[in-house]
């Protein structure tokens, strides 16, 4: 079947897709490849479809996995991440909830205590603040408090951080908040491989895992390797990935910022300024400090990039851990954080642009860091 799919041509005409989906959903699912082909003949997939594949594969593999959240079923997902899942698995396993985050998150956690493997979707992580007590006090802490007697194999997922023009209440990044909680694992995928592999790993993980997606990444396509297309593909939680090797400076980022960091690195290399190593954290907790330390020992300079607020953030944590580690002696310049601005996100486009880091800001900071010398 898979070889058939590989050779299949994407049916991209919307009306044909719809007609096929209506007449024969099962066949449609099989033939309407969520993947497309780039000019080199490699397979590409959007982050959205990668997440959808992950959900579908894990729900097929394990009866105990189910999805609940607002609009995940009949609406096919507020951002279409759960498209087709209700049709395929039915209302027992894909559940539309009322708009009661505190209640349905608690219900999901309780069902995990009792042996199921829920995937609890928050329409955005902003709304999960209503449920944060259940995530932290019920899900994260119970295994420890019960002396190991109670398990909680739950996955919480949803879009995190900035979208476009959604203003202050809908743009917060929660990586630092959840990243500080013992008992939780926290992942933050950037591209499609990250999204598929980390979500699958999260669902298989017997611990509570927070998956911080990004709405602006959902529609972006990325190449998918042969391995990534397999239904057994997982990305190890707690391991960062070096997206681009370099020698002069290390840039560490997570989620959407990885893309900007890579663009900045490319720009600086083209301008002949430096060769930057770009690390994609992939996981916020556990944080892969080992990979960062190894890189800093090589490049001697470090810049962190994130979308969240500067105070008490992911970058702050990396700075602290680097300072406390052997990597400190290898620094030729202080570590610098590039973060979201310390403001509630404004609506006006020009102001909003000023609230989040982009390629230009990263490049500027990297250049400045390269010019610094300790003691100079």
């Amino acid at each position: 079947m898979s070889s058939m799919l590989k050779k299949a041509v994407t049916v991209s005409i919307p009306s044909v897709r719809q007609a096929l989906a209506r007449s024969n959903p099962v066949l449609a699912n099989a033939l309407l490849a969520k993947r497309s082909y780039n000019s080199k003949g490699g397979v590409e997939m959007t982050v959205r479809d990668a997440l959808n594949s992950a959900l579908e594969e894990e729900m097929t593999a394990d009866e105990k996995v189910y999805l609940l959240g607002e609009e995940v079923g009949q609406y096919n997902g507020a951002y279409k991440v759960s498209k087709g899942l209700l049709d395929k698995f039915g209302p027992k396993r894909v559940i539309d909830t009322p708009i009661t985050e505190s209640g349905f998150c608690g219900l999901a956690v309780g069902s995990a205590f009792a042996g199921l493997k829920p995937v609890c979707e928050f329409m955005t992580w902003n709304f999960a603040m209503q449920a944060i007590d259940q995530i932290v006090n019920s899900a994260a802490k119970t295994h420890y408090m019960s002396g190991g007697n109670v398990d909680c194999p739950i996955t919480f997922r949803g879009p995190n951080g900035a979208a476009a023009g959604v203003a202050a209440q809908h743009s917060q990044c929660f990586a630092a908040w959840y990243g500080s909680v013992p008992g939780l694992k926290v992942v933050s995928p950037w591209n499609s491989e990250d999204a598929k592999g980390l979500l699958k790993a999260a669902i298989r993980d017997p611990n509570p895992v927070v998956v911080l997606e990004n709405e602006l990444m959902y529609g972006i396509s990325f190449p998918m390797s042969e391995a990534a297309l397999s239904k057994d593909f997982v990305v190890e939680i707690g391991k960062a990935k070096i997206e681009k090797e370099g020698t002069d400076i290390t840039i560490v980022a997570h989620s959407r910022a990885v893309g900007f960091a890579l663009e900045a690195a490319q720009l600086l290399e083209k301008e002949g300024i430096c060769s930057a190593e770009v690390i994609n954290l992939r996981s916020i907790r556990p944080l892969d400090t080992e990979t960062i330390i190894k890189s800093v020992k090589k490049t001697n300079r470090l810049v962190t990039v994130e979308g969240g607020w500067p105070q008490y953030g992911v970058g702050s944590e990396i700075c602290a851990q680097i300072m406390e580690s052997e990597a400190f002696d290898h620094l030729d310049a202080p570590v610098v954080r590039v973060t979201g601005a310390d403001v509630p996100t404004p609506y006006a486009q020009n102001l909003e642009a000023y609230a989040f880091p982009d390629t230009e800001v990263i490049a500027r900071v990297v250049k400045r860091t390269l010019n610094k010398k300790i003691g100079a």
């Binding site: 189910y66 027992k92 559940i95 909830t97 009322p98 009661t100 505190s102 209640g103 349905f104 998150c105 608690g106 219900l107 999901a108 956690v109 309780g110 069902s111 995990a112 205590f113 009792a114 042996g115 199921l116 007590d133 259940q134 006090n137 019920s138 119970t142 295994h143 420890y144 408090m145 019960s146 002396g147 190991g148 007697n149 109670v150 398990d151 909680c152 194999p153 013992p182 008992g183 694992k185 993980d205 017997p206 611990n207 190890e236 939680i237 707690g238 556990p286 080992e290 406390e324």
Partner: protein, 390 residues
């Protein structure tokens, strides 16, 4: 029910049978069932029928109920003493006076049914299989504790009992989730989610009601109304104190929670209701705690000593059952004294065992943060040199 009538319910129950001759026993001595008539005020229903006032129960079961309540009370009294001796730290919420709820529930349920409650959980832990030693050891923070000493008073669990929860109200959606899992997995069983009069106004409780009804979960929501949420009387916290009606679209039943047989009857009824596919049900147990909210609360600043004494003298669940056992010749006064003594001995022994258990090994500090400690290479202690590597 209890507040307006100053008559002892136990005496009323006894009056229902004027002479022991009205006790129906079966001809065959092998079947030792008793039929007991509950007082007519035992139940009040909302959008459903009340359970029958006739309780059919075996003599063995009655004696077991008595033994359980007596042992539970001894256990809580021992905890009281240990707390005052500063061997128990932090929070300690005792259920003295409320024994009928946990005991009456257990006898009506099976091991497949699940229970979840808040922090007043020692009695439930005991009824759901926790040994007295492991409960007391947990309070003392010892290795032999049911949670390895890592949870304390509010975090005790057994395979069919989900705590022991410290955040008021959070256990109710959790309980709905456990019921959800039962339905999902096709188990013919129910989940009983308990909360107090104080927790009854929590938003998440109503969120749980809504989902339980929408999805027809085998969930029974049980409000243990002991009249006070910490120091706040129910009438000062709740615009509507008819807790059994608060489910709105969920039918409800108010129960005399000081009568273990009324509790038993109501819980059996509720289980049958939900398991037969009628969806959720709400129970309100009218009960009373003799002690304060916790060991830090004398319990006398917001209620009168007269009220407490009155409840003890006229509505005590153990005394009530005792009177029934004697009136209906289930066991003799001497047999009862023997049970009392045995309970005292059992608890005293458990106290000694618990005290003899050592504190948890320091290595346990680092375990069970994650399941099987998998995928997490290290944990940081208080400073960079205090790192633990797995």
């Amino acid at each position: 029910m209890l507040s307006t009538q100053k008559i002892s319910l136990a005496k009323v129950a006894a009056k229902a049978f004027i002479t022991p001759l009205t006790v129906r026993t079966f001809a065959s001595s092998a079947v030792r069932n008793v039929s007991i008539n509950l007082h007519k005020n035992s139940f009040e229903s909302y959008n459903c029928d009340a359970p029958a006032l006739d309780v059919e129960i075996s003599k063995e079961e009655l004696v077991r109920m008595y033994k359980s309540m007596v042992t539970m009370r001894r256990m809580e009294m021992a905890s009281d003493g240990l707390y005052k001796a500063k061997l128990i730290r932090g929070f300690c919420h005792l259920c003295t006076g409320q024994e009928a709820v946990a005991v009456g529930m257990e006898t009506a349920l099976t091991a497949e049914d699940k229970i979840i409650t808040a922090y007043r959980c020692h009695g439930f832990t005991y009824m759901r299989g926790g040994s007295i030693t492991s409960i007391l050891a947990e309070l003392l923070g010892r290795k032999a504790g049911i949670s390895g000493g890592k949870g304390g008073s509010m975090h005790m669990f057994t395979p069919n009992f989900f705590g022991g929860n410290g955040i008021v109200g959070a256990q109710v959606p959790l309980g709905a989730g456990i019921a959800f899992a039962q339905k999902y997995q096709g188990h013919k069983a129910a989940t009983f989610s308990l909360y107090g009069d104080g927790a009854s106004n929590q938003g998440q409780v109503f969120e749980a009601y809504n989902m339980a009804k929408l999805w027809e979960l085998p969930a029974v929501f049980v409000c243990e109304n002991n009249r006070y949420g910490m120091g706040t009387a129910a009438s000062r916290s709740s615009a509507n104190t008819s807790y059994f009606k608060r489910g709105d679209y969920i039918p409800g039943l108010k129960v005399n929670g000081m009568d273990v047989l009324a509790v038993h009857q109501a819980v059996a009824y509720a289980k049958e209701w939900t398991v037969s596919g009628k969806g959720p049900l709400l129970l309100e147990m009218e009960t009373y705690r003799y002690g304060g909210h916790s060991m830090s609360d004398p319990g006398t600043t917001y209620r009168t000593r007269e009220e407490i004494q009155h409840m003890r003298s006229n509505n005590d669940p153990i005394t009530g059952l005792k009177q029934r056992l004697l009136e209906f010749n289930i066991i003799t006064e001497d047999e009862m004294k023997a049970i009392d003594k045995a309970a005292r001995v059992e608890v005293d022994q458990a106290v000694e065992e618990a005290k003899a258990s050592g504190e948890p090994d320091l290595s346990e500090f680092w375990t069970q943060i994650y399941q099987k400690d998998a995928g997490v290479p290290s944990v940081r202690g208080r400073e960079p040199e205090e790192m633990h590597y797995y």
